[in-house]
Structures are given as C-alpha cells and as structure tokens.
Symmetry: C2
Subunit: 314 residues, 2 copies
C-alpha cells in the first residue's frame, strides 16, 4: 500500500501518474484541508476537489483547478448583487459544494462525504482529508503597510498571493484529530510519498495534526519526497516567494532542510543536479531525475522513480 | 401608499399589474417567508424571489417560478453524487441564494438583503419579508398511511403537494417580530390589497406574526382581497385541496369566511357571480370582475378594480 501526502495541483498531477503504475486500490491519499473555506454558507475543500477532479479527468486543463465544461451563471448573479465574487465558483463545481455542505449538515464527516464524492467519480483510490476537524491556515500579510492576519483564501485568491507574508498559523492544530485511516495508512504503507506541494501551506498543515508528524517521522526511511522547487522557483504557486518571506532558502536545499525529519529521500530535478551534494549534506539522500510533470506519462515515470527509491518496484 | 399582502406566484402577477397603475415607489409588499428553507446550507426564500424575478421580467414564463435562461449544471452534479435534488435550484437562481446566505452570515437581516436584491433589479417598489425572524410553516401529512410533520417544501415540492394534509403549524410565530416597515405600511396605507395567494400557507403565515393580524384587522375597511379560488378551484397550486383537507369550503364563500376579519371587500371572478350574495351574507362585500391574470394588462385591470373598491382612483 502506498500513502501519499498531498496538497492540490502538484499532488493531483503526481497521482495521475501513480495510478498508472500501481493499482489505485493500493493508494491512500492524505490531503490538506488547511485551505478549506466556508463561503456563501458552503463548505469548500479546494485540495480535495482538485485531486478528485484531476483524477476524474474533469479538471479544467487551462486553469489546473475547477472543472472542464464549466459555466459561471451563479457567480454572474452574485456579481450583479455586488456580492463576494473574488472566489470563482463555477456552476458544476457548486454542485460539489452543495452536496458536501448538505451532507456535513446532516452530520456526516468530511471523510465520509469525500468517500461519497470520490466513489461517484469512480476514482478507485482512497482520498482522506487529514482531519475531519476544523483546521484552517491563517496568513499574516503586509496589507499594504500594516500587518494583518487573513484566511488562506483571502491571501491566496483574493490577494493573488502577491503580498509579503510574515507569518503562518494553523488554527485548530491543538485539537484536530487525524481522520479515520490516516495514521493506519502512514504506519502500514510500503512507501510514503510526499507530493511536490507547497511545504509551508500544503504539507505543513498535514503535519500540524497531532500524531501525523510522529507517524511520518517513524516512517522516514520509507518516505520519499519530491521537491516542489525546481531551479529556485516554484513551478506553480507562491512556494518560492513564501519560503523566502518566512526565512527559508527557496531551493532544493531549503526543501531538504524543511523536510529533513520527514523523508530520507528527496527527488530533485535534473536542473538541480548541482545541488545534490548539498542536499546530501543536509542528511537527505538526493535522487536526480526529471520531475516536471507535463502529462500523465511523465508523472508515471516520476512516481516509478519515487517508489524505486524505497525499493518498491512496479 | 399601497400595501400588498403577498405569497408567491399569484401575488407576483398582481404586482406586475399594480406597478402599471400606480408609481412603484408607492407600493410596499409584505411577503411570506413561511416557505423559506435552508437547503445545502443556503437560505432560500421562494416567495421573495418569485416576486423579484417576476417584476424584473426574469421569471421563467413556462414554470412561473425560477429564472429564464436558466441552466442546471449544479443540480446535475448534486444528482451525480446522489444528493438532495428534489428542490430544483438553477445556476442563476443559486447566485441569489449564495448572495443572501453570505449577507445573512455577515449579520445582515433578511429585510436588508431583500432590499439589496430588489435594488439590483431596479424594482422600484419596497419588498419586505413579513419578519426577519425565523418563521417556518410545518405541514402534517398522511405519508402514506401514518401522519408525519414535514417542512413546507418537503410537502410542496418533494411530495408535489399530492398527499392529504391534516394540519398546519407556523414554527416561530410566538417570537417573530414584524420586519421594520411592515406595521407602518399597514397602518399608513391608502389601500391594503390581499393578493390571490393561498389563504392557509401564504397569507396565514403573514397574520401569524404577532401584531400583523391586529394591524390588518384595524384597516379592514381599506382592505380588498381577491379570491385565489375561482369556480371552486385554485388557478395554481393546492389551495383548493388544502382548504377541503383542513375543513374549509373550497369556494369564494369559504375564502370569505377565512378572510372575514381581514378584508371588508372580496373580489371574486365572474365565474362566481352566482355566489356573490353568499359572500355578502358572510359579512364581506363582493366585487365581481375578471380575476384571471393572463398578462400584465389583465393584472392591471384587476389592480385598478381592487383600488377602486376602496376609493383609490388611478
């Protein structure tokens, strides 16, 4: 069984490759919920949905999030009323949030609803929110000249992650409990893969749930991460800038430092071959390969390399 | 100033006529919220929306409710998940519910949100929910062989109002307060018009709000109702069957008995001319005219007749 620690877009791409090289029934994905937000009364889980839509081959290929064949009639009406329309919710996408919100209102857990949604798309794998409890990433931004703490999506979407960040905090990390199956998956996995997701706002919230970091650390030798930083830059999103803002080095070496306790092995891109030795000096074994996932085939090759690094041959 | 007591479709049609014969700025509509429902986490106000959409010339002409040029992408997704899809929410319509729910979540009152929505559609008139407090109609149905109390929409939409009803109850009618402007409109109106709405589930909830019935009764001489029952049948909806189920006569005489304390005058259709004397014997002055509103012109003629009955000439 393979356990994957996952954020959104980067993780979704890795998973499209992984399910080509192993039976999806053997895959358990532990996904971030720190980005979740309640908007217009609806519970929105962006990372869970990005993974689901991508694996269902429903993701919009241009945006990388949201659904293909999407329409925007509801948001146009919200805009007419002068309402909050900075968080784009397509009409099809809204159906997912309506269903999730209704089921949560009936008392279902986020895990249960997520299982229902992934079943409807015949994903085959197991997708688990890291916790069923509220866990929310809060971001301290400089906005525009005073510091102010805002919700993750207010930073990421409303401000287009273009303002300096001076702090991050996970609200609920003292009381959140791992969702059913999360610790079991980490403990029982033949390999734990850390997706090329933002270390600070996608992977860190997973580790913030009490018990999860300990479980991953205990499996450090079977854990392989892939760097979301390639040649000093994030392929997508603000990971590079955020790392610098918060005092980290935006490089594979910086990633190795952040994930030292997490993973014995770090896959870095060919572009960073020159930094492999520096990664090793951080106590993390580097594996150099092509990490940019242009399509499911390159994603499958990356997944195969990651599994091979811990002796799982496929 | 003209005050109109309103349910949904029938009231909306009367209003399309009324705003042709008087300045919309002189019209205050007091609308039912007993049909309101929270579904998928969204606050839905069917009667407020039917009035708004109709006056904005946005209502779907075939259905009589909901919006024209509507699409159903969100509900199709809810259906894919096996979710609750018996209450059809179009994509455009959802925008209204998203906005309303968001504003209520911010602490706005239903009156305030309704004003924002009607302003966005340039309605010109004042549309007031009868109360900003929760008031919900509950229906005891025979389902299929045992009595069971359900929410209004579970009876009206989910069961297509096709099951016998043995009771009605307004939850919240002990604590609901009239929304700002409601009593003032009733007290100050030159004429109070009771739309041809269901007496038991559209008009009764208005009167159930403490203070409203007293205010209407005090204006009985200036109040003109139009019968929603024509020739023993409701033009739309289950008013006739519901009246019989609950021990009332489904005729203009039955309506006169129900509304005796409310209105000194009852407009009945030409088809019921033969019952005019029986209406008068109930202590209500009948006015016989064409009441079936086929279009805004016939609605305007009806509105003019109603106003004329209390000496308001237009």
């Amino acid at each position: 069984m393979i356990c994957v620690l996952a954020g959104g877009v980067g993780a979704a791409r890795l998973l499209t490759g992984l399910v080509r090289v192993v039976d999806p029934a053997e895959v358990v994905v532990v996904a971030n919920v720190g980005d979740d937000v309640v908007l217009h009364g609806l519970h929105i889980s962006p990372d869970l949905d990005t993974i689901t839509y991508t694996l269902a081959d429903q993701v919009d290929p241009d945006r990388g999030w949201g659904l293909r064949d999407e329409s925007w009639q509801a948001m146009a009406m919200v805009g007419r009323y002068g309402g909050v329309d900075w968080f784009g919710l397509g009409d099809r996408d809204l159906g997912t949030h309506l269903f999730r919100t209704h089921r949560l209102g009936e008392g279902a857990t986020l895990s249960e609803v997520t299982a229902e949604i992934t079943r409807a798309w015949d994903l085959g794998l197991t997708l688990l929110p890291v916790t069923d409890d509220p866990l929310r990433t809060r971001v301290t931004v400089v906005d525009p000249d005073a510091e102010r703490e805002v919700g993750f999506q207010e930073w990421f979407v409303q401000r287009r992650h273009s303002v300096p960040v001076t702090g991050l905090r996970m609200v609920g990390d003292d009381t959140a409990r791992p969702a059913p199956g999360v610790l079991e998956a980490l403990i029982g996995a033949d390999a734990v893969l850390v997706a090329p997701s933002n270390p600070l706002v996608s992977i860190a919230p997973l580790l913030a749930v009490p018990g999860v970091a300990d479980a991953v650390h205990a499996r450090r030798d079977r854990t392989v991460a892939v760097s979301p930083i390639v040649a000093g830059a994030a392929l997508k999103g603000p990971a590079d800038r955020l790392m610098v803002d918060l005092g980290h080095e935006a490089s594979v070496v910086g990633v190795a430092r952040l994930w030292h306790d997490l993973a014995a092995t770090l896959v870095v891109d060919d572009a960073d071959a020159g930094l492999a030795e520096a990664v090793r000096e951080e106590g993390v074994e580097p594996v150099v390969t092509a990490t940019v996932m242009r399509d499911p085939d390159t994603a499958a090759a990356l997944a195969r390399t990651m599994l091979g690094a811990v002796g799982v041959t496929v």
